[in-house]
């Protein structure tokens, strides 16, 4: 088992180097001069320009710049944001909990609704329930979520006035962040109504972000269940007269869940891509919106550092999913 883990980790190293190289090169390839980008509408004097070129090391050969960058990365130095002048890593650490909280809520929502929907659809295969559920799942899977978010805002926030428009918690509440998760912090604060305010702010963004994973999980669960239900041991259990609930719940679902767990793990990339759109629409102060803003502001160090950090997180999660899968299913360990 440990050997398997090490082998997978070993595969990660060339990928990681590739990721650093890509994020490094991207920034060098971006059009527009980062220094001009900093100077803005007023421009910069040629002499100040030269100073800045030296300060950022843009005059050094490309290879040297890359090694400087790599050395920085290994020491946890991802550069300084051009707009805020703060370390990229510190900004990421500030904003990531918001994205994580949203993603966790979305994945919980997707799993909590997706798996039962998939199971029911599989058990009632061919019925109108199956067709309705899978039809809905396909609509969710086809959804342009940026539009979906706008529609929800128009209806629930604008028309009905049920949910707040944006942000993570009502501005009435203020407490210093302890964990960075608004749901937990609001409970810790002991302020009345803070928790429910945080919940009401989370609802719409979670729904939007959960839409596609929910559809994928429901579809995946259904087909995995169908496969398992057709297998001999389930048929045997059924013919032995075990209660259908026991058969489905214990025998079939447990086996069907193995591929579903992998699917859930692989949704992390989908979630990060979705976070970019969801956070932009709901003004959610997370890393997705931070990256989009950075691309538009040409905040090169942020784009570079953010790419690396997000890719790093996805790689680690995928590794964990792989290892977990190997743990459940010894056959893949070879």
């Amino acid at each position: 088992m440990f050997g398997f883990f090490l082998r997978r980790l070993g595969l990660l190293i060339p990928t990681f180097i590739g990721v650093t190289l890509v994020s490094f090169l991207f920034i060098r390839l971006l059009p527009g001069d980062p220094i001009i980008a900093m100077a803005g509408e007023r421009g910069v004097t040629p002499q100040r320009y030269q100073e800045l070129v030296q300060q950022f090391g843009f005059d050094k050969p490309m290879m040297l710049q890359y090694f400087d960058y790599l050395r920085g990365v290994l020491h946890g130095d991802l550069g300084t944001s051009i707009t805020t002048k703060r370390p990229v890593l510190a900004e990421f650490r500030n904003l990531f909990p918001a994205t994580l909280e949203l993603s966790i809520c979305a994945i919980i929502l997707a799993v909590a609704l997706g798996i039962p929907a998939g199971v029911v659809a599989a058990v009632k295969r061919g019925s109108w329930i199956d067709q309705t559920l899978m039809g809905t799942a396909l609509v969710g899977y086809s959804m342009p979520i940026f539009w979906w978010g706008l529609l929800l805002i128009i209806f629930f926030s604008g028309y009905l006035g049920w949910t707040p428009v944006s942000g993570r918690i009502s501005l009435m509440y203020f407490f210093p962040p302890v964990t960075g998760f608004m749901l937990i912090d609001s409970l810790l604060s002991g302020q009345q109504g803070a928790f429910s305010s945080a919940v009401s702010h989370l609802i719409l963004p979670s729904i939007v972000l959960a839409t596609i994973p929910l559809a994928v999980i429901a579809r995946q669960t259904r087909s995995a269940m169908l496969e398992v239900l057709g297998e001999d041991y389930v048929r045997t259990a059924r013919s032995k007269g075990l209660a259908p609930f026991r058969v489905i719940g214990i025998h079939a679902l447990r086996n069907a869940l193995i591929p579903v767990v992998t699917t859930i793990g692989l949704q992390i990339g989908v979630l990060m891509a979705g976070a970019i759109l969801t956070e932009t629409i709901f003004s959610w102060p997370g890393v997705g919106k931070w990256m989009v803003d950075a691309v538009f502001k040409r905040d090169y160090p942020v784009v570079q550092g953010g790419l690396l950090l997000i890719a790093g997180i996805i790689m680690i999660v995928n590794l964990l999913v792989d290892v977990a899968y190997g743990f459940i299913n010894p056959r893949v360990r070879k």
Partner: protein, 297 residues
């Protein structure tokens, strides 16, 4: 592959068999019909759209749809902020969406299959190198990678398509490679190799046709996700640039009117949803018809 024949009354040609299974799914047929309609709409755009997509009518700004108070029957779905007919823009927009889908899938399939064949057939360090590069691409969230790529190449439809195709590439490479790996040691391949077939012939004529089914399904998926991704990039201001009537770009332009004119926001999104849904329905039908394992169910 042949275990399916026990359901069919008699053995038919491959295509007929495929059609039989495809049409067994109601969803797939509906999807196909809707998709055909969208294609027709794109082809006939100049004939059927009531107005030109980019003609501004400054006395008709933000008219609501025809059935509402203040609507005008000449502008069935209303007008946008500079008085352009939304229906006409949607009709012309279908051209862009289909075009995006076709171009992205073509680039991704052709280059993905080529790279995948090479990786799978040659194996060894070439394979490892290619797969590591694919791992790197897959390590980034697709939309983020596409966004940064477009930022590098410059905003615009062409660059958005290139970026999306690149992001889609690894799926085709992995799929082709896996198929080649399983096929290449099968008897028929070994047989033709012994018979003296060259490696080019082996790759394209012998092996490739046998990996087609999953590739077609993946291509359909890529088609619909390309439309979604291009619309998302357009929405973020990095895709097709105004005044192009691309649906995502239309949504981006419409965003400021979300309070006042729901129709400029609603219809472009609905157009995206319907088109993507139709393609996905077809994709499901294709998968069921092509995937022998699922034919049983």
């Amino acid at each position: 592959m042949t275990d399916a024949t026990d359901i069919t009354p008699k053995r038919q040609s491959g295509l007929a068999e495929f059609w039989y299974y495809f049409t067994r799914s109601k969803g797939a047929v509906i999807g196909l019909l809707v998709f055909a309609l969208v294609v027709l709409m794109a082809i006939l755009a100049p004939l059927i759209s009531p107005h030109l997509p980019n003609v501004q009518n400054q006395s008709m700004i933000l008219l609501p749809p025809a059935w509402m108070n203040g609507g005008n029957s000449s502008f069935l779905l209303g007008t946008d902020a500079v008085g352009r007919d939304i229906l006409s823009r949607l009709i012309y927009g279908s051209r862009y969406s289909l075009f995006i889908g076709i171009v992205v899938v073509s680039i991704a399939v052709v280059s993905g299959v080529l790279v995948g064949l090479i990786a799978g057939y040659l194996g060894g360090w070439v394979d490892s190198a290619i797969m590591r590069v694919m791992d790197v691409i897959l390590a980034f969230p697709s939309l983020l990678l596409a966004l940064v790529l477009v930022a590098i190449l410059g905003p615009g439809l062409t660059n958005a398509m290139i970026a999306i195709a690149l992001v889609d590439l690894p799926h085709f490479v992995r799929l082709t490679r896996a198929a080649v790996m399983t096929e290449k040691n099968k008897d028929y391949v070994v047989g033709s190799r012994v018979a003296g077939a060259g490696w080019l012939r082996l790759m394209f004529i012998t092996i490739l046709p046998n990996c087609l089914a999953p590739l077609i399904v993946q291509a359909t998926l890529a088609f619909s996700s390309a439309i979604l991704d291009a619309a998302a990039l357009g929405f973020l201001g990095m895709g097709a640039q105004p005044p192009t009537p691309e649906w995502g770009t239309m949504l981006a332009e419409a965003r400021e009117f979300i309070q006042r004119a729901w129709w400029v926001v609603t219809f472009p999104g609905l157009a995206i949803l319907i088109t993507v849904l139709a393609i996905n329905l077809m994709g499901d039908g294709l998968r069921d018809a092509l995937d022998p394992k699922l034919k049983r169910s």
